[in-house]
């Protein structure tokens, strides 16, 4: 009975305040979309880092079938060449610059590739043979990349030496800057949303002061009086958060999935499914912001 009563109160509150409720939904929608966009950029950065990015800095790719580099004149890397390279890495002259190194075979490379590009159509057309084996090196000082590069580039069996960090760092810093901007915009929009929710609840409390006055007099509990108002704000904010989650999913699905991944097939993009892990966070964030701001407003404007 009490639940039915509270629900009907919420319904009538939402109906009476339709325009304000819609504006709350839109403001939370926009602000949480920005929050989510920042989250998506971070997910994308993680995706692009792949398996090795945080573990090593330099990769020495070994010759495979189609290699055309000068070091690959003898065709694919032979076991002897590979042993030589490993001995060179372990020799004191080189070992002083590196923490450790790992060998990635063609099969392992294929496995990591599949993980990173799981959302991309390219994964089906790649076989382990097409991927080069490599030594992955964790540098003591990443700035000393040149030493490794000079030592190994000319070795037989080496196709190329790549500083992965240098390739991606600039892109990542741009993406980090973009997420920072998104978070700042989100911050301003969230302040906006909080103030708007507070105003909406205040109006709602004012337009129903007759009812709440009577409820107080006949001894309704604080919960029964306040809950409809709080839930009104929370429901509006949660609807906004759901819209924001839907938008992020649509961006991941239509923009990244259908468009960008075709334009840049060699880049790993996040899947639409991954954006859904942001959804619960957005729903909770929206709901709790609305709950807290309406609770604080009610403490000032609704005597119980």
């Amino acid at each position: 009975m009490r639940l039915a009563f509270i629900l009907s109160e919420i319904g009538s509150g939402l109906r009476r305040n339709v325009t304000m409720v819609i504006s709350v939904i839109l403001v939370t929608f926009v602000s949480l979309t920005f929050v989510g966009a920042a989250g998506m950029l971070q997910l994308q950065i993680n995706q692009m880092k792949g398996y090795w990015y945080d573990k090593v800095q330099v990769a020495i790719f070994l010759c495979s079938d189609g290699s055309t580099a000068s070091g690959c004149a003898t065709g694919p890397v032979t076991p002897e060449q590979q042993d030589n390279l490993q001995r060179l890495l372990e020799s004191p002259a080189v070992a002083q610059y590196i923490n450790d190194f790992q060998f990635e075979s063609k099969d392992e490379a294929y496995k990591h590739f599949k993980d990173q590009f799981s959302n991309s159509p390219i994964v089906d057309s790649v076989t382990p043979d097409q991927l080069p084996a490599s030594f992955r090196i964790n540098m003591k000082d990443p700035e000393k990349y040149q030493i490794i590069s000079e030592t190994f580039s000319s070795q037989p069996g080496v196709e190329t030496v790549i500083d992965q960090r240098q390739l991606l760092e600039r892109l990542f810093s741009a993406m980090n800057a973009a997420s920072l901007v998104a978070v700042s915009v989100a911050g301003v929009m969230i302040v906006c949303a909080i103030l708007l929710i507070a105003t909406t609840i205040r109006l709602s409390a004012f337009s129903r002061r007759r009812e709440t006055g009577i409820m107080r007099l006949v001894g309704a509990s604080k919960t029964v009086i306040q809950l409809p108002f709080i839930l009104e704000g929370v429901i509006a904010a949660v609807v906004g958060a759901a819209l924001a989650s839907g938008t992020l999913w649509a961006v991941a699905h239509f923009f990244l999935g259908e468009y960008l991944s075709k334009q840049y097939p060699d880049t790993a993009f996040i899947s639409p499914g991954q954006t859904l892990i942001l959804a619960p966070a957005l729903l909770i964030l929206g709901g709790s912001l609305a709950g807290i701001s309406s609770l604080l407003t009610l403490r000032r404007y609704l005597r119980v």
């Binding site: 009975m1 009490r2 009563f5 007759r210 009812e211 006055g213 009577i214 409820m215 107080r216 007099l217 006949v218 001894g219 309704a220 509990s221 604080k222 029964v224 009086i225």
Partner: protein, 264 residues
């Protein structure tokens, strides 16, 4: 039922207190008028009983409880034991008569079946049978006040506070309302009514507590709106004590919950 011990209420430090060291006891089942000019402290008295305000000093007891000691989350329970009626009725305009009365039960979580049984009964008590589906604006002032009274007593409070309930009504209608209040009082509810209406007070011949500038200047049983005995100044207070003793004790059976059910 209501006991004021040396209660003072100061709203504004510079002004005189709204209530000044008031000692007053209203027994269970009593019917008392609170009279006095505007600003004499009648409304403050009622607000203190409801714990809408805190006494600046002194103690207010309602149903044996010191209201200052009731924690805020138990105030609703205190208020469930007190019905309130106002001069301006305070009905919900978009709800019909039945829904207005039922509202008071819904918000404290009474079940639908209890509401369906109780509301018609109470509407009968206040003389509104057959008007369940009317909206407030379709009723006369007297009928609206009856709805308000029904709402105030539907949860069977031990105390009914009425703040000038006949202030907006003509004399005949007012007498009808007084009949309803008297009936509720007969059923065992303590009724305290603040009023300016001398005709009603004179007609009813109940206990009269007169306030002036926050001080009780008269407390007489079966009294008139203005005192028949010319007493000057302080000596009026002496009359208080003797006046109170003349009140007949109410029957305790009338007050218990099961008894209330049948009497209604």
């Amino acid at each position: 039922m209501i006991r004021f011990e040396n209660v003072t209420k100061v709203y504004d430090q510079q002004a005189r207190p709204a209530l000044d060291a008031v000692n007053l006891e209203i027994d269970r089942g009593e019917f008392a008028f609170l009279v006095g000019a505007s600003g004499s402290g009648k409304s403050t008295f009622l607000r203190l009983v409801l714990k809408e305000d805190r006494a600046s000093s002194g103690t207010v007891y309602v149903a044996g409880q010191n209201v200052a000691k009731i924690s805020s989350w138990r105030v609703p329970r205190l208020r469930r034991g007190i019905g309130v009626v106002f001069q301006d009725f305070r009905l919900l305009p978009q709800k019909n008569v039945f829904a207005n009365v039922a509202f008071a039960m819904q918000v404290i979580g009474k079940s639908r079946s209890v509401i369906r049984d109780t509301v018609p009964e109470v509407l009968k008590t206040v003389g509104l049978e057959g008007k369940e589906n009317r909206l407030p604006h379709e009723l006369s002032g007297g009928e609206q006040q009856r709805v308000a009274i029904a709402r105030a007593v539907v949860n069977r409070p031990g105390i009914l506070l009425a703040d000038e309930p006949t202030g907006n009504l003509d004399p005949t209608t007012s007498m009808g309302i007084m009949g309803v209040l008297d009936k509720i009082n007969q059923n065992g509810t303590t009724v305290v009514m603040a009023t300016h209406d001398d005709d009603i007070v004179n007609e009813m011949r109940k206990r009269v507590v007169e306030l002036k500038n926050g001080v009780v200047i008269r407390d007489e049983a079966k009294a008139l709106y203005t005192s028949m005995i010319p007493i000057v100044g302080q000596s009026r207070r002496l009359k208080d004590a003797s006046g109170r003793e003349e009140i007949p004790p109410p029957s305790p059976a009338a007050y218990s919950d099961d008894a209330g059910e049948e009497q209604r």
